[in-house]
């Protein structure tokens, strides 16, 4: 038995309780073959906490909410952030296991590869934890939707705010793969457009870099006012920790954590993370609805991982997908991936996590983007109380205008 197939088997076993959990006696249930959702993500590596168990829980919440209208099953697999592994799993899911929609995806490199496959097989891919804006740009597809956030949104929200605050020269520390490159490119564009200057950049091997002090010193030597961290997960937390240690922030150089999840702040502790700014499209403590969905996702959770925007996205995307499937009928929805994506684009989205929104022709899900500042330990009043809201961008301002993306679906 190959490693991959064993993982899928384990994933399937992990998903069993979900399927059985759906069979609530006495509840009216929809008939027909169930919709099959494959949650493909990093379940064991550096991006586990911002996806992982909470993603499974979030998807289950959506499936249960839609249970009166349509049947759905969940399978789970770990792609270990490797495109080859991810594509193999997705291929088996599509060809053999009857999976209709692949969810989450995380690493940009995996999402780009699986998007091509979903198009070839006429299935659906919804990326909820993926960053690269290429998914709705040159790599856009009629079978893919990009939820939650992207590199353009982060670059615009965080990047512009830093330049406005006087940070007009930048040095990038970039994770050396598709995601890091896209984030650096999008941020650099904003900095230049706002009249800023790029002093240099360094590309760090991914995964496997733990000591960033050398790169931080190079950044410091460039005399840039802002160090842009075009990385994520433990790379970001290590950079922030070590920048504090080497007194870089004390010398007036600002850190711009271009992609920082609340799970990273949780890991760093407020003592180290206080004062950093970051962008997100969901924070659990925005309003009653966001608080309620966070509570529902964390019901029964044994860990202490806060609900990230990726988790909220898994809930929101699954909910909207199943709504569209319920309207079309399961048989039609299973038969044609492109058709259900079109239906999803035609329907406005509404859910507790992101409020009201829409999906654009290029596959971009639109909702507001928020700029947050990390609280000081004194300001924090309870568990996961980490952010204060600095600024809200309207959906149309938050994301890249469709005309600039170069998506072929829009031109034709």
């Amino acid at each position: 038995m190959t490693e991959t197939s064993r993982r899928i088997l384990l994933g399937g076993a992990a998903a069993l309780p979900v399927a059985t959990g759906l069979i609530a006696p006495g509840r009216a249930r929809a008939q027909g073959a169930p919709m099959k959702i494959g949650l493909l993500s990093d379940m064991s590596g550096p991006y586990r906490d911002l996806n992982g168990p909470n993603s499974i829980a979030a998807t289950r919440v959506a499936i249960q909410e839609m249970a009166p209208r349509i049947n759905a099953e969940l399978v789970v697999a770990d792609h270990q952030n490797r495109p080859d592994v991810g594509v193999n799993i997705a291929r088996q899911w599509f060809d053999r296991d009857g999976v209709d929609m692949v969810l989450n995806l995380a690493a940009s490199s995996v999402a780009l590869a699986v998007s091509d496959l979903a198009r070839e097989k006429n299935k659906v891919m919804i990326a909820t934890s993926t960053a690269t804006s290429d998914l709705t740009g040159r790599a856009c597809s009629p079978n893919s939707i990009h939820w939650v956030y992207d590199t353009y949104m982060l670059a615009r929200s965080t990047g512009s705010a830093m330049v406005r605050a006087g940070g007009d020269s930048w040095f990038f520390i970039t994770a050396d793969y598709a995601f890091g490159h896209a984030l650096e490119r999008d941020t650099a564009n904003f900095v230049r457009n706002a009249g800023g200057r790029i002093a240099g950049s360094v590309r760090t091997p991914f995964p496997g870099t733990t000591d960033f002090s050398s790169f931080l010193l190079q950044a410091q030597a460039s005399r840039a006012k802002v160090i842009g961290l075009a990385n994520a997960g433990t790379d970001t937390t290590n950079c922030i920790k070590q920048a504090a240690e080497f007194g870089i922030t004390r010398r007036g150089i600002k850190l711009a954590s271009m992609l920082m999840f609340i799970s990273d702040v949780h890991a760093l502790g407020l003592e180290t993370a206080q004062g950093l700014v970051c962008s997100a499209s969901y924070y659990w403590d925005l309003n009653d609805k966001t608080r309620s969905i966070a509570r529902r996702i964390r019901t029964g959770a044994t860990n202490d991982t806060p609900v990230t925007m990726a988790h909220a996205g898994d809930y929101s995307a699954t909910l909207h997908y199943l709504k569209a499937a319920a309207e079309m009928g399961a048989a039609a929805a299973k038969a044609d991936g492109r058709a259900i994506v079109e239906r999803m684009k035609a329907m406005p989205t509404v859910d507790d996590a992101f409020g009201e929104g829409t999906i654009r022709a290029d596959g971009r899900k639109l909702h507001p983007a928020y700029l947050f500042e990390v609280k000081t330990p004194a300001e924090s009043r309870g568990q996961h109380d980490y952010y204060k809201l600095l600024q809200t961008s309207a959906p149309d301002d938050a994301f890249r205008p469709m005309s600039e993306g170069g998506c072929s679906l829009v031109r034709s």
Partner: protein
């Protein structure tokens, strides 16, 4: 002199010195970890692939001592290696000791499997993004060296690692216990015939090697993110260090550890993308030219 450096390298001298110093600091971790591996391999002939997880356990135990028992960094520096070393003793007694008669490969596979299980367990319990651990107040702050800002804690790591390496070397080369150890490496049955309890010595040696890994883990806790995969990232490099230095050579692993740290540090300036590969390139070259390693005996 400084201008000379800048002319030939095109890199500002302050940056270059900074990188050399950082390389030494990383080298200190490589040296401490490869030292433990060398000690274990020298006596047990076991290629201890659990070492990375034991390094990680050291950092986690330090965190647990602080979070659950209120014992700070200095206490952890003593207690964590003892606790993790004790788990090593248990693993050696229950499992590894059954494989001494078999080929190296079996030990490698067993320890590799144990390592994966330990890592998986910690990931399940504590998640992947890591836990906060602060630099102790006595060692926080930094010296301004002019060409760089040198955190006191990093300096402490280098000094402490050097002292530990020296102490280990002294124990093995200059004490009676070390003499027994070295003798048992050469011919265990003969040493046993003289009334030395060789199995117990082997168990304790494994425990000590594991303790060294945990000690490095405690040192690493305040500067790296304390997360379950912190050992995996480091251990592959450390194995390359051990291979380059020569399996089982204690002095070799220490010298190679520090020098490869420096080489890696310099690569980060001149060609950052290659910094994850440079050590393996050196390993390949050394294996081709001197299969026993730079300091090993063929």
């Amino acid at each position: 002199m400084l201008e000379f450096f800048e002319t030939i390298t095109g890199i500002p001298a302050p940056l270059l010195f900074g990188q050399l110093l950082l390389g030494l600091i990383n080298g200190a971790f490589y040296a401490m970890l490869s030292l433990g591996l060398a000690v274990i391999f020298g006596l047990l002939n076991i290629i201890n692939f659990t070492h990375g997880s034991q390094f990680m356990m050291g950092a986690f135990v330090a965190w647990m001592l602080l979070a659950w028992a209120g014992i700070g960094y200095w206490g952890a520096l003593v207690l964590a290696p003892l606790i993790v070393g004790a788990t090593g003793v248990v693993i050696e007694r229950l499992m590894i000791s059954r494989l001494y008669k078999l080929d190296h490969l079996y030990g490698l596979l067993l320890t590799f499997g144990i390592g994966l299980m330990i890592e998986g367990y910690f990931r399940n319990e504590f998640g992947s993004s890591g836990l906060p651990y602060r630099i102790p107040a006595e060692l926080s702050g930094a010296w301004d060296l002019g060409f760089m800002f040198m955190p006191v804690y990093r300096g402490w790591v280098v000094v402490f690692a050097l002292a530990t390496c020296l102490a280990t070397w002294l124990v093995i080369e200059k004490t009676r216990l070390g003499a027994y150890l070295r003798a048992a490496t050469e011919n265990a049955p003969l040493v046993q015939a003289f009334g030395v309890n060789v199995p117990r010595m082997i168990t304790l040696t494994y425990g000590a090697g594991v303790g060294l890994a945990a000690l490095a883990g405690v040192l690493a806790a305040p500067i790296y993110s304390v997360n379950p995969q912190m050992g995996t990232n480091l251990i592959i490099v450390v194995f390359a260090v051990v291979v380059i230095g020569g399996m089982g050579s204690i002095l070799g692993s220490v010298i190679t550890g520090f020098s490869l740290g420096v080489i890696e540090g310099l690569t980060k300036v001149f060609w950052p993308e290659a910094s994850a590969v440079v050590i393996f390139v050196i390993m390949a070259i050394v294996l081709l030219a001197r299969p026993a390693g730079l300091f090993g005996r063929a």
